[in-house]
Amino acid sequence: MNKKEKGFNKNFQLETPLAPKRTRLQEFWRLFRQNRLAILGLFIFILFFCCAIVGLFMTSGPDPLLDPAMIRLQEKLRPPLAKPNLDSLRREEIPYLGFYLMGTDDLGRDVFARMLQGAWVSLTVGFVAVGISVLIGIFMGGIAGYFGQHHIRVDHVLVTLVLISGAALVTANFIRSGAALLCLTPAYIFYFIWSQNRSGKKTLPLWAKVFRKNAVSIDTLIMRIVDIMLCFPSFFLILTVVALLPASIYNIMIVIGLTSWMGATRFVRAEFLSLREQDFVAAVKTLGAGNFRIIFRHMMPNAMAPVLVSATIGIATAILTEAGLSFLGFGVPPPHATWGNILSDGKNFIFDAPWLTFIPGIAILIVVLSFNLFGEGLRDVLNPKLRERH
């Protein structure tokens, strides 16, 4: 046998050279390309993105090429492709294209210019809102998934409650009692440090023991917060908050973001919980990597897939939500044009100027559709369970 062993080919190649090596991205692209609908979605998405960028440059600045705010009352409700009536317009009022590509609205503003501007604004609303929700989601989900078993002690809860009620009292103009409560917190912290230094091994009094008892695990806490948030019907919550706050584009983005992070939190938490148990994390841990490094370098990239998918679809949802709010009069206020408010403004003219309804309506439809298809494609590709079977 020894002889034979020696006889085995020494020049064998450990890895078969014939299978081409691909990076993860290439592999991803190879799979993604097979989904024609998703490719279509991506294509429209890129087109939309370009439009939005081009639109941003063409419609902003001190002297934009296409001024979406330019009011030409005498040119109102002109149908698409109509030529402007040159006699009645000042020179700066003549549309850049020489005609109204998508007609004009009830104030004679160029719908094309407004659509271009709206593309960027709608995109921003979608991205920022989803960005906020994804950030919160990753943060909360990450903490719940990674530090989940850590416990919050009774005194933490009490100190937080005292802090909050103190702050509330101060804002409600009961400054003295509020300040007293606020001072209690550092006092307790000092006491805590002092007693720790001093006592060492001495037994603690009963109340201190109660105070140091574990009240609730971080995971439970965060998931309960998620539960609480999920108890509010989402559109209704958005509507309440938007109706109560002064209308502004930022409020809308923030509100949509703040009310839609629960999904991302759950995804990230689930991924983290399963990743944490996996061998490679244990391996990294034994190598002495810090929590921060483990989370961001090793776990986060692996947990991103479902978040990415839900983010893509979230952008589409945000655009639709904004349109719905616009319908109720709580959308992004002027001077920002969004596709949502162009559409809801236009609906009053559905019999007199149908293009004001149909152009933004169909535009939203196409863009949201492309986002959804793209997201679906991503899901297929990123989902390892489905991938194996291809």
Partner: protein
């Protein structure tokens, strides 16, 4: 396999069931043309539902439109805007004037006089008829009786008003030893009465009356505190205008109960009852007393001159027998509620109202419809329509489609649709000038709006014609002042602020605003910039916002705009006067009382003069207007006030809108004259543009009639 079959057939079956329902549904044709019942119903559409059907508890327009049908007031205004009796057949307006005899004053030709002497002196003066001025002569002529009220002692308890609103309330008991008083009954209201009388009794007779001298307090209070109450408790002179209503006999509520003067008194008391939280309380606060003289006569005495008084009695009269203390207690018992806290607000009456109007309440389905049936016992004869239906359709567009389909009878046309619908052969359209106007208000507290030149210039920069033509589609008129344009109070001589951007620039440069290199107006190194706000949900205001921003940008003013939700807009910005400029509208009554909006005392937070317009002259006129009962004099004051406001330009008055409503052409006025002959007339709007003035006579015909006067 069963599961698979089920999965395929269930949805198909479902779809079939759902779709086949189409064949059961009556088409619009069947509902309108094929349904003879439909001709006897009038269906109105509304965006919002009514809240409560009780005229004293609500002030929203949806509720009012139903309340007007179910309840009837003492009087209303006719086509010419004159008062017209409804539940009251006639009324008298006169005055009871009082003054305290001033023992310290010298009456010319009488010296210091006791009450009886003064009374006799006045009687003689009246008889002599050779007064010094015509004013005095007239005033004396108006007097119908003179009497002396002997002195009397009484005490009142007052809540102590302390400036820093301390938490504890203090009360003070004041003993009053009131001197003798003379009561004069005038046959009309004369605001200048005492002024004229002072020619007779001496210039200082009224002014020098020292009310303080007659006040005493038990407690060791400072004198100064007592003095504060002197003017209130013992005013030297007092006008007590009186309204005496003679009520229509034999009028019945829908439940058959006879209407009488006690119902009027009850209605007044309900409004004043703090438990009811009536939003109409302000209009009745000047009432001193409501007295039932006999079941068909009610006398309303006012504390002071208050010319809008008449207007307030158009309010629907509530049935005493259904809502008084006893009735409410019974209802509370029935519902198992605490009778002591149970108020009219909780009563089920508010959802099943009973009045004495032309229609009786039938059914109310929240957010769906309210149905009223005609009241056959209506005193003026029952209306032609058998039913009045109020449908709630919250979406404008679907309302429009329902109107086209014939399931709503009227539709309030949006400005941009007027052109299309006016020409439509199926409909008759009415238009008129609205009672409200839209304006841009400037916060005069803030610079640079404190300068009338700036305000004027801002107005000059806006091309009103453009707004009216393009935003309102011609459905509006320019307005120059705060009065209702179709009334006499409106001063038609005042020219609107012209559209003149160059002129605006000149005015602004007079005020110190010069263009900088980029064309922005600056003064002392700071740019002319401010924020213009309005509420959201109003497309016209939104459009004006954009236009104003654009026009001001043209002359170099940097304007930011903001749209706010209504209640935030009102409560956070308007009420707290936290704004630079705003676009808003006022819905006006016909009465020219402008106290709340323009008087300088009304500029505090939560008051309506939020632009802080303060003008001495204007203040005087405003007071005079609300005290003047004489129409012609009132008109004169109003026109003067109009002039001042137009000069000061605290607002840029924009426009008063024109409303257009379309009705099915088959709806006409049907009249039956004494001989029983039936005549049909085309519906024509009244002077105020109310096309539904003769609503009780309306009826829908199967075919549109051809009238001679039709073009």
């Amino acid at each position: 396999m069963t599961i698979r079959r089920f999965l395929i057939f269930a949805p198909i079956l479902l779809i079939i069931v759902l779709l086949q329902s189409y064949f059961w549904v009556p088409t619009y044709e069947e509902q309108t043309k094929g349904n003879p019942q439909r001709l006897n119903e009038y269906i109105a559409g509304s965006i919002g539902d009514a809240s409560l059907l009780n005229p004293i508890l609500t002030a929203d327009s949806a509720s009012s439109s139903i309340e007007n049908m179910v309840f009837e007031g003492l009087m209303d205004r006719d086509e010419q805007l004159r008062f017209r009796g409804r539940l009251a057949t006639s009324w008298e307006v006169f005055e009871e004037a009082y003054f305290y005899v001033n023992p310290s004053a010298d009456v010319p030709g009488l010296g210091k006089a006791d009450p009886q002497d003064v009374a006799n002196f006045l009687k003689n003066a009246k008889k002599k008829k050779n007064a010094i001025t015509t004013g005095l002569k007239n005033s004396l002529d108006y007097i119908t009786s003179i009497s002396v009220i002997p002195p009397r002692n009484y005490s009142v308890t007052k809540e102590l008003k302390s400036p820093d609103t301390g938490e504890q309330k203090k009360y003070i008991t004041i003993n009053i030893a009131a001197p003798a008083r003379i009561k004069l009954v005038l046959n009309r209201v004369e605001p200048n009465f005492f002024q004229n009388l002072s020619y007779l009794l001496g210039k200082n007779y009224f002014e020098s009356f020292n009310g303080k001298a007659y006040l005493m307090s038990d407690s060791e209070m400072e004198k100064g505190i007592l003095d504060k109450y002197a003017g209130e408790l013992l005013p030297a002179v007092e006008h007590n205008p009186v309204l005496l209503f003679h009520l229509r006999p034999g009028v019945r509520f829908h439940d058959g109960h006879l209407f009488d003067a006690y119902d009027v008194k009850f209605t007044y008391e309900s409004i004043m009852n703090p438990k009811n939280l009536s939003p109409r309380i302000a209009g009745y606060e000047p009432v001193k007393s409501v007295k039932v003289m006999d079941p068909l006569t009610v006398k309303i005495v006012y504390k002071r001159l208050y010319s809008p008084a008449m207007e307030t009695w158009g309010m629907g009269i509530l049935p005493d027998h259904l809502l008084n203390q006893n009735a409410l207690k019974k209802e509370a018992h029935r519902l198992g509620k605490d009778p002591n806290t149970f108020s009219m607000r909780q009563s089920s009456f508010n959802r099943h109202p009973i009045g004495c109007g032309p229609f009786r309440f039938q059914e109310w389905k929240s957010d769906q419809y309210i149905i009223l049936d005609r009241f056959d016992g209506y005193w003026e004869g029952p209306p032609n329509y058998k039913k009045y239906v109020f449908r709630v359709i919250p979406d404008q567009l679907t309302q429009e489609m329902e109107f086209y389909a014939g399931t709503i009878d009227s539709y309030d046309v949006q400005p941009h649709q007027v052109k299309r619908l006016e020409k439509d052969q199926r409909f008759q359209s009415f238009s008129g000038t609205a009672l409200g106007y839209t304006y841009i208000g400037y916060n005069i507290r803030r610079k640079p709006f404190d300068d009338p030149r700036v305000r004027r210039a801002l107005g000059m920069a806006i091309d009103m014609d453009k707004i009216i033509n393009y935003v309102l589609y011609g459905q509006g008129e320019q307005i120059t002042g705060p009065f209702v344009k179709q009334t006499d109070y409106y001063n038609h001589n005042i020219q609107p602020v012209p559209y003149d951007p160059q002129g605006a620039l000149t005015l602004l440069s007079e005020a110190g605003w010069k263009p900088d290199k980029q064309g922005w107006l600056t003064k002392d190194g700071s740019k002319f910039q401010f924020t213009l706000i309005t509420n959201n949900g109003n497309d016209l205001r939104k459009a004006i916002l954009a236009i104003a921003q654009d026009s001001w940008k043209q002359i170099g003013i940097d304007v930011h705009t903001d749209l706010l939700e209504w209640s935030v807009f009102i409560q956070e910005r308007v009420n707290k006067a936290d704004f630079d400029a705003l676009i808003l509208g006022w819905q006006m009554g016909i009465d020219p009382d402008l106290y709340q909006i323009w008087h300088s005392s009304q500029t505090n937070p939560y008051q309506l003069n939020f632009v802080s317009f303060k003008n001495k002259e204007a203040d005087d006129l405003i007071i005079k207007i609300r005290q003047e009962y004489d129409h012609n004099r009132q008109v004169r004051y109003c026109r003067m006030l109009h002039e001042i406001i137009a000069r000061e330009q605290p607002y840029t008055f924009l426009y008063v809108g024109k409303w257009t409503a379309v009705l099915d052409k088959r709806i006409v006025i049907k009249t039956i004259d004494d001989t029983g002959h039936i005549g049909y007339k085309k519906i024509t709007p009244t002077k105020t543009g109310s096309y539904s003035f003769y609503f009780n006579k309306w009826i829908k015909l199967p075919e549109a009639p051809a009238f001679m006067d039709e073009g």
